[in-house]
Symmetry: C2
Subunit: 319 residues, 2 copies
């Protein structure tokens, strides 16, 4: 069975066709995030191109899966809100089904990333898995008994919005001290902005001040790699906070593994020691001694592969 898997990101809309033998086609365009219509048009373009390219090889696509960074009502295929897209109460499934005539499955991007790691990545074959996508924001996916856990309305696993420090910095979601507000790319850059605001001087802060818009967590990582103390401390603190969040998840889920993916993995060598230490110190022994904390093995393909698996398994379940 051939299926399309699309990862709808804030800057790129990337898709692939997966059949029994592996990945047979790829397509990637810029996301037009100026409007909901723009996002949806791009989605339709990627979907049609992949389908046509596959058809030209004699491969018939049977379903489409979609992973989107945002709050997704899985049952209805509706994106209720997305931090990096202009999607609000967007009936993505119905629109895409209407235009393609194919069954469409829509889920949160971290849920499908978790599915991919559980089926073909670092968590292959494990029954209980907690997945964190560490990037601009922090997403979460939960695998229970081998299946994606979605809760009552398909909105579960917002692990980035677990509150780890109730008096912490404000989060985009409206709360304070969410894991996302403490550890994400945005959170790390905000800490540098705060250092700049109080006049703390360092090469890292100077780079920030020279072009705040272009600054990113990768820049912090470069400065840390170069041995700059404040950059190293900042990433170490982020690792510590991350370990606190992981400890809570270990206490809540007693999982076989916690898997990590996303752009922030590029900084993990500066975060990992503190992350493992704080998890070690804060999680309960029985669960802590069992769990493995693993780096995802699927990289950037994880989202697309997970979306394709979502479509394949959704189609199989419906048959």
């Amino acid at each position: 069975m051939a299926v399309i898997g699309i990862d709808l990101g804030g800057t790129k809309t990337a898709g692939l066709v997966l059949d029994g033998g592996g990945i047979v086609e790829r397509c990637r365009i810029d996301t037009d995030a100026s409007s909901q219509d723009g996002v949806m048009r791009g989605l339709l373009v990627v979907c049609s191109r992949l389908r046509e390219d596959a058809a030209s090889r004699g491969v018939a696509v049977e379903a489409v899966g979609l992973g989107i960074a945002g709050f997704v009502d899985y049952e209805r295929g509706v994106v209720t809100e997305a931090p990096n897209h202009p999607l609000r109460d967007a009936h993505v499934r119905d629109i895409l089904m209407g235009s393609s005539g194919l069954p469409v499955f829509v889920d949160n991007d971290a849920n499908v990333a978790a599915l991919a790691e559980a089926r073909m990545g670092a968590g292959k074959g494990l029954r209980y898995l907690v997945h964190l996508t560490l990037g601009t924001g922090i997403g979460g996916g939960i695998i229970i008994d081998g299946q994606v856990y979605r809760g009552a309305l398909g909105a579960a696993a917002e692990l980035g919005h677990m509150i780890v420090c109730e008096n912490g910095p404000p989060c985009n979601c409206g709360a304070h001290g969410c894991l996302e507000a403490m550890v994400s790319g945005v959170a790390i850059c905000r800490r540098v902005e705060e250092m700049a605001a109080v006049g703390q001087a360092s090469p890292m802060v100077e780079e920030f001040l020279a072009d705040p818009e272009a600054f990113s967590a990768e820049a912090v990582c470069r400065h840390a790699d170069a041995g700059e103390g404040v950059a190293r401390d900042l990433l170490e603190q982020s690792g510590w906070h991350l370990g606190i969040g992981i400890a809570s998840l270990v206490n809540i889920f007693n999982p076989d593994a916690v898997t990590l993916s996303g752009g922030l993995l590029g900084c993990l060598h500066h975060m990992e020691g503190a992350m493992r230490r704080s998890c070690e110190e804060n999680a309960i022994a029985i669960s802590r001694d069992h769990v493995r904390i693993l780096t995802g093995t699927l990289g950037e393909d994880g989202g697309m592969l997970g979306a394709a698996l979502l479509a394949r398994e959704g189609l199989n379940a419906g048959r």
Copy 2:
């Protein structure tokens, strides 16, 4: 089918016999918490008495269920550690099976309380339920698709050890700022102790100083009922912290309901407003608008009924 359900607490060991028609026997003795042998002897006494009393009415007990406040390895029936008992790596299931010859099922007390609320209490018929037992400590139980969620080793749902404030007060588990360290009976009394230590004067603090050992959250509640501002503020703050924890759980599980039980419910009228407000302000809209926060309806029987249901369902699953 008649089964025994026992709630093994730090002060009382209480059990009942449940058959198709309801509760047919009860037995309750003081827990001898001076040693592991003492605890186990009491357990055997309650178990034998209930079985004999039931037999004298012609009711044959077929299995025993046990709920214990502590870290339980469900698969092995072992209590690895218990805060209020001298149980350490106690092979409770094997000991009780050896002496009774009956199948025995051992679980965390909050897991079985969750089961009871999901089967016959406030959460009856709901698929996704998060249960919190609010007492001296804070326990948690998770119902997914109508079943107790236990994770890889049966140690999941330690919801009292979700960290809500990473720089918060120390918890018995070794971490800081766990929900239990912020909200439980112990946490509330510790706040009063702190007030006393800095010389803050009020009738509540005077009562504490007169007899610190006898002081409890109920005393705080009495002072709040009498209109004492510091007592009211303290319970309101506890309610706020509890709402933060519930918000995280709502974001993680997207449950149909969060149910509450335990001794602290006696103070709930002082906590509830702040609890609902902080949950409202901190949880994501889609999950927050769906979830109901409910008071459990089974009261003190919840633990025993849940333990009996654990035995009944365990026996049925094994057949």
